[in-house]
């Protein structure tokens, strides 16, 4: 049995409240995706904003009704056995305010322990253990509103472990965190899988995060999975192709469109007025690319050859950059 088994899952959102006898239009957010997550696996859904990651997580955590297809979590049907699933999973939802800011960390966990039916005699010990694990024990009685973003996220993770779930869903767990907190969260997630044998499904739009962290990655774009493999398997798609990163100033967007090479913008620094382009350009072509760019009026600041990353995979598959 797989921890998560998704078959042809679809989801459309109504544009208006679907009252009886009211004709409403629907927006297709997830367009028939299939994947399986093994027990003890750290599986990543990688995709740009609006790709359908959150929608997928909400369906799998039984918060949203799918429009088509089916899915099982730990062998339970998401439509029929929602409560059984909820007892065995947990999630860190997207965003900063998923917990009660007017309660302390301890009070939050106590509340969630109860609504997750944690046995009363284990409650105290479990809360203490979790708060120590995420490094919030000393601050347990402070109101969450006084916490930093990173502390709030660590508490959200502690909450997600309150019922000792078999499967954990994490929606963009490092979004908006400072570097240090993000590192903590990533290492923490990896340890959950390696040491506690949890199954984790996480979503991210950070390429490096997916590559560093996940056992397998499904790249999702416009509601469809366009590739699914291990990080090294995915990178094999661009093996032998040279990734080149060029930083320029005064780029004319028309200029790069007319070039015969596919270069996409991976970074824009509005403050400095610089743009970073990336693409697959062979060594022989490199001088010509630079020359053409200069002709369009751009000033070249740096040219670097890079190891191909998942970014290049995404560019190759979609012709677009996966940007923040």
């Amino acid at each position: 049995m797989h921890a998560i088994d998704v078959r042809e899952l679809r989801k459309s959102y109504p544009k208006k409240i679907p009252l009886p006898f009211r004709k409403v239009e629907w927006i297709e957010a997830v367009k028939g995706i299939s994947f399986r997550v093994r027990k003890g696996e750290l599986f990543g859904l990688l995709g740009p904003n609006g790709a359908g990651k959150t929608t997928t997580i909400k369906i799998l955590t039984t918060l949203l009704e799918p429009s088509g297809g089916s899915a099982e979590v730990l062998g339970y049907d998401i439509r029929k056995d929602a409560r059984e699933i909820r007892k065995r999973i947990n999630l860190v939802a997207e965003g900063e305010r998923t917990l009660y800011w007017r309660l302390s960390a301890y009070e939050n966990l106590k509340y969630f322990a109860r609504i997750y039916y944690v046995p009363k005699n284990e409650e105290k010990e479990r809360i203490e253990q979790l708060l120590r694990l995420v490094g919030l024990w000393e601050r347990r009685n402070d109101l969450v509103m006084n916490y930093s973003r990173g502390m709030k996220q660590r508490l959200a993770i502690a909450k997600a472990l309150i019922n000792d779930p078999e499967v954990l869903f994490l929606d963009e767990p490092t979004l908006g965190l400072d570097v240090q907190s993000a590192v903590f969260v990533r290492e923490f997630i990896r340890k959950l899988v390696d040491e506690q044998k949890k199954t984790v499904l996480l979503t991210t739009h950070y390429m490096a995060e997916a590559e560093e962290l996940c056992d397998r990655i499904a790249i999702i774009d416009h509601g469809k999975i366009i590739a699914l493999d291990t990080p090294s398997g995915l990178k094999r798609l661009v093996k032998g192709e040279d990734a080149v990163q060029i930083r320029v100033r005064d780029l004319s967007f028309q200029g790069i469109k007319s070039l015969p090479w596919k270069l996409v913008i991976v970074k824009e620094d509005a403050e400095r007025g610089t743009v970073t382009l990336r693409g697959h350009v062979s060594e022989e072509d490199l001088p010509k690319v630079v020359e053409s760019l200069v002709k369009t009026g751009a000033k070249i600041l740096s040219v670097e050859q890079k190891e191909p990353t998942l970014e290049d995979v995404f560019i190759k598959l979609t012709g677009r950059a996966l940007r923040d």
């Binding site: 959102y13 409240i17 949203l64 305010r97 009070e107 509340y111 109860r114 609504i115």
Partner: protein, 267 residues
């Protein structure tokens, strides 16, 4: 028990800020004074023969105090849903709670019960305050005797509120709509003036509000009437308890299903 956890959480958050509790009490008292003084000014004094003949209570402050306290309590579950759920929907905490294995109905009931509890504490203070400054004569047996009717009223208020639980999940911002309801109950349920001065249509319409019957029953008990004598009001309350719980629940189930299609988020 999960229900207890919801109540504990709500009470904690409410009583965390003493200043807010204090201001809530103050608002309750100011509102009351305003109505009582206004009523007395209109009646030209504290005692009204008209009031006595039509309701059994001739003393206006007693009459208004009972009506006012019950009105406040009757809208409490409704407010819990309209404002409490809406706040949590906007912040995202609602979804975090819904994702837990606790039943959503239990979650909602906990919310309504805690608001009712908070408002009861609040109204107890306002009631005692009213009794003292208006020199209202009270006896312990009468107070005790009104408790079962009060409990039945609470049940009906909770059912009435349930209607709004479904609506708020679907339409999110129904505060203004709910306020129209709250104020129409203030006028159509005989809180500050007797219902029978109203047109017959209004009187009939007011029967659908649990508050109307609750106020009638409790005022009657305060004038020394027996349970048997207030049986019509009690029967009405029983019927409305059934009616609102069943309709409210059905409406809520449907709204929940629709919400699971749209998403609980702030969209």
């Amino acid at each position: 028990m999960p229900l207890g956890a919801v109540i504990e959480k709500e009470l904690r958050m409410f009583f965390r800020y003493p200043l807010r509790v204090f201001s809530a009490v103050l608002v309750g008292i100011v509102f009351l004074l305003q109505f009582v003084f206004f009523g007395q000014a209109v009646l030209g004094g504290r005692y009204s023969q008209l009031l006595a003949s039509s309701t059994g209570i001739g003393d206006y402050p007693t009459y208004a105090l009972i009506g006012y306290v019950l009105w406040w309590l009757s809208v409490s579950p409704m407010e819990a849903y309209v404002w409490g759920i809406r706040r949590e929907l906007q912040r995202g905490t609602f979804e975090t709670s819904v994702a837990a294995p606790i039943r959503i109905t239990e979650l909602l009931l906990g919310l309504a019960l805690s608001w009712l509890l908070m408002d009861s504490v609040l109204m107890m203070v306002v009631f005692v305050f009213g009794v003292l400054i208006f020199h209202i004569s009270l006896s312990l047996p009468v107070v005790l005797k009104s408790l079962p009717v009060l409990l039945l009223s609470f049940l009906s208020f909770l059912g009435f509120g349930l209607i709004f639980a479904g609506l708020v999940m679907m339409f999110k911002n129904i505060g203004p709509f709910a306020q129209i309801f709250e104020f129409s109950m203030l006028f159509f349920s005989g809180v500050f003036f007797p219902l029978n001065v109203m047109p017959r249509g209004v009187v009939l319409f007011s029967q659908i509000f649990p508050l109307t019957h609750s106020v009638t029953a409790i005022r009657a008990i305060f004038t020394g009437k027996t349970y048997a004598e207030v049986l019509p009001s009690i029967s009405w309350l029983l019927i409305l308890v059934l009616f609102y719980w069943i309709t409210g629940y059905a409406l809520f189930r449907w709204a929940e299903k629709t919400t699971r299609v749209m998403g609980y988020g702030g969209y």
